[in-house]
Subunit: 222 residues, 2 copies
């Protein structure tokens, strides 16, 4: 499909898709997200707020918005986040205003988050959200992939496997479910889902003008 994914030739204005990809660690989500961002110029990641310190080379406002814990708490209290998470000692939050502005401009935003983030997003952004869950072909393959990374100790791998099982148990909070036993095929399915979702009537905000012009021409020979 890559070469022939249908796109809208009319260029009607549309509302963007808030596109959530979730999967247990090791099921291939990050690879698919990277391929998707490279293939879809209208899709980007949102820039999160975080309380963690910038790493060498990270640019404020591009990689993250780096803020103090006090500022982060203030934003959270003001409901300025669509979703936020506490990971180890750091906090990460998705800015509501930025996301809705991007969607209204007809650009899609990719979220690489877990089931809890997906649930939060869905509560706040309902119809904008499309949630895709990617399953590993088996838990043995998942463990194998984690072990091949060779960056983690056995204890960390065991913890990741337990976390993976927990993720899998929340598969029913998603709109689409895929099994990644062929990366290219799984990527094509994800891309197809995004393309189809863009055609949803509820997102075709710009087609209303076209419909009005059809109805104006009406049954007459014009």
């Amino acid at each position: 499909m890559p070469a022939s994914t249908p796109t809208d030739p009319h260029g009607f204005r549309r509302r963007g898709v808030l596109f959530v990809l979730s999967s247990p660690s090791g099921a291939g989500k990050s690879t698919i997200a990277k391929k998707l961002l490279a293939a879809e110029p209208e899709l980007s990641m949102s820039v999160s707020y975080t309380t963690r310190a910038p790493r060498p080379g990270e640019v404020d406002g591009k990689d993250y918005h780096f803020v103090s814990l006090d500022r982060f708490r203030e934003m959270a209290n003001n409901h300025e986040f669509l979703e936020w998470a506490h990971v180890f000692d750091n906090r990460y939050g998705t800015p509501k205003a930025d996301v809705f502005h991007t969607l209204s401009e007809g650009k899609d935003i990719l979220f690489d988050i877990d089931w809890q983030g997906a649930q939060q997003l869905h509560q706040l952004a309902g119809g904008d959200v499309v949630r895709v869950f990617i399953l590993p072909p088996s838990m043995a393959i998942l463990r194998d992939r984690l072990e091949k990374r060779a960056t983690d100790s056995q204890g960390v791998i065991d913890a990741r496997m337990a976390r993976a099982a927990n993720e899998v148990s929340h598969w029913d909070g998603y709109d689409y479910v895929l099994v990644n036993d062929d990366l290219e095929h799984c990527f094509e399915c994800v891309r197809m889902i995004l393309a189809a979702e863009r055609l949803k009537r509820s997102r075709q905000t710009g087609i209303i003008g076209f419909i009005r012009s059809l109805l104006k021409a009406g049954g007459s020979a014009e």
Copy 2:
């Protein structure tokens, strides 16, 4: 996309899609329906009940179930139809039991119906239904296509154009909206929508067993 539409390589059992195509007469719906039926072996039309007399070559139980007006009324009173319509002096009805049986077997059913039929279907079959509306690129092109058929008088064409405008005004009762200004592109979009809808979690009835096996393997090294 035709050659590379992703299909499910796992063969999980799934619930079929009740796939509705509507458009004003002349917008290309019948051509697209025919191409779709040829390309998608898991998609078929449901066999309707009708009170009209069989035409030469039509086979009872294959082209239609031919029934008397009394029998049709009885079925309608017993709520045996998912939707039915009165067209000129004849009645046409879609049998509920047959359709739900087909969907439960993982086969998709195509409906080539108007907005009222789509509305009836949606009321009775809710989540099974996917409604796609195909718009003509302009009313002038629609009239041109109807005139080129050269089978209808000017009066009939005028009536069809008025009916077309009425159809278009109900575009907001659909899940997806497409403009058919390039038949091949429009067909690809329709096919992509069907393929994506098949991947909906709510239709992946057979994936539950697979998920159970993943969770059984759980975090253990199995």
